[in-house]
Symmetry: C2
Subunit: 322 residues, 2 copies
């Protein structure tokens, strides 16, 4: 009998990563294309599908593809669409499942990329056996996936978990968000958010820093991380502020869903204590005493590459269509 | 065969209301005692149990009591406790189910009063048939109950839904909360919150108002409501500000759980447009466009008296012990 495989796809603001995945979570092949290179979603899918097809063909005839799982910002499981994504090059409502169906009759299941990461964490990562937890993905933007009583929260319209687009201090921030509003959490807490915070600190301070030599466009969160490790005071301050803003919001998350753990995933989470310490401190400080010391703040046990891909693939494994 | 009945109890900051309830939601008897009259929870339960017992005896031998359902601030379903309630006269952890068990061997099920109200809304009120909704109770404090995919969210420790103790603008408010912290939502959005807001507006403004004749202690939200209906500018401003603060937070609620509807329940909700209009306006303004116009903001269909009692009673009907 042929081995069953699925294709997990993570559509991100910069790159789209895919993997050919076995039921046990083993990734047989993976690859990526640059999302930002494609102005039209139809051309993007044409290129992506062809690249995936080449990988599948390499496996020969011994494997059966069962379907495609897609994690994407603003991915909607009810409709198979991506709707008004702030961080992708495409505008409006993109019928991504329908576009895939030009090439395949197999099931195509779409959800929020962070929701997919949460399922991945539950099936293959640090949330194994947990019933109530939250995954926060820190990439170009900030995504979140809520698991309540062992099930992912999709919400009435399939759009639950957009924590990145809540305000920290409503009406009191001038920081513009890709969504058209101001002061969204992801304008502070994300790879791009920490860059913006760094710039503001740099503007206010007269502290010397090697990062003053780098343009905003060339700057990335990894450079800020490395500078902070070398003791760069501006970089350290940027991490502290980013962690604190995250901690504020995590206190809200705890007060609404009372999770056992919150997992941080993505580039910024790799900065470990630099982000975890201020986040934990501010979260605890803003928690009602009944929650204090009860909620674990943990790094994701999945790697940046595979979490969303595994999560997206598990959408297919767990769907009724397969 | 004897008719089965349960006792639903709603423990509030000011009053405790109980009802003897049939399976169909018919309340055969109800009554109340003043919570604030009792310094010790043991004495409170002794008085309450006796009062309930008198009501039950009036029914004669044709009814069997199946259990007691209790809704209370900080009520914990896992442990049968009330823990550190900010709005009750008792401190620390109160083993309320154990205290009841001095008098009865029947099941005693405890949860957050707002969680109980949410179950009541689902079984008997405006949320009939809804799978994803939130109930906000506006009493002395602010409570909330989240229903996801047809089930109440209890969280890992049984403490989900404490929206009243999240901050609107973390770190930026001096308004003290009964929980020991500052700036909690319920210090703004509740019967006591609107009084405090009114006082601040009164202090800043030179606008005349009949409410200037009333002491803080004598003032209640109903008086502010009546003044607003007569065009009192300070009262109108207090309602507007209260609604706006609520709207900010409702936008967060939508972005995390994407409900079909949010129900407002309790005294302040009776002020209708005075509270619903600014709340709706600010909620919509702070929502990501994917949610705009999709989430209904509705008044509870249950009366102030019966919602929490029916909700508390349905805890018993739906428990496995009955």
């Amino acid at each position: 009998m042929n081995k069953k495989i699925v294709v997990g796809i993570d559509i991100g603001g910069t790159n789209t990563v895919f993997g050919i995945v076995e039921r046990n979570g083993k990734i047989l092949f993976d690859g990526k294309i640059r999302t930002s290179d494609f102005d039209e979603p139809e051309v993007f899918v044409a290129a992506l599908y062809e690249k995936i097809n080449i990988s599948i063909k390499k496996l020969g005839n011994s494997h059966d593809v069962m379907g495609f799982g897609i994690g994407a910002p603003m991915g909607n499981i009810n409709k198979g669409t991506i709707e008004y994504p702030a961080d992708l090059p495409w505008k409006g409502i993109i019928p991504i499942a329908d576009i895939f169906h030009k090439y395949t009759d197999l099931p195509v299941i779409v959800t929020n990329d962070a929701n997919a990461a949460a399922v991945g964490e539950m099936v293959y990562g640090g949330a194994k056996g947990m019933k109530n937890f939250v995954v926060i993905t820190l990439g170009t933007g900030l995504g979140s996936g809520f698991v309540v009583d062992g099930k992912l929260v999709y919400g009435e319209d399939g759009f639950a978990g957009e924590l990145g687009h809540t305000a920290i201090r409503p009406g009191q921030s001038n920081r513009e968000c890709g969504c058209g509003r101001k002061g969204c959490l992801e304008t502070y807490v994300s790879a791009s958010g920490i860059k913006r915070t760094l710039l503001k600190i740099m503007a206010d301070s007269i502290e010397p820093s090697n990062l003053r030599k780098v343009s905003f466009e060339k700057l990335d969160s990894k450079m800020i991380h490395e500078a902070a490790l070398k003791g760069d005071k501006i970089a350290l301050k940027a991490f502290k502020h980013t962690g604190q803003m995250l901690g504020f919001k995590l206190a809200d998350v705890v007060a609404t869903t009372n999770p056992e753990a919150i997992f941080l995933f993505g580039g910024l989470a790799l900065a470990k204590d630099l982000i975890f310490e201020p986040a934990k401190e501010y979260m605890e400080e803003h928690l009602l005493n009944i929650y204090n010391g009860k909620v674990k703040l943990l790094p994701s046990k999945l790697t940046t590459q595979n979490a969303a891909v595994l999560g997206a693939s598990s959408l297919v494994w767990t769907s009724k269509e397969v």
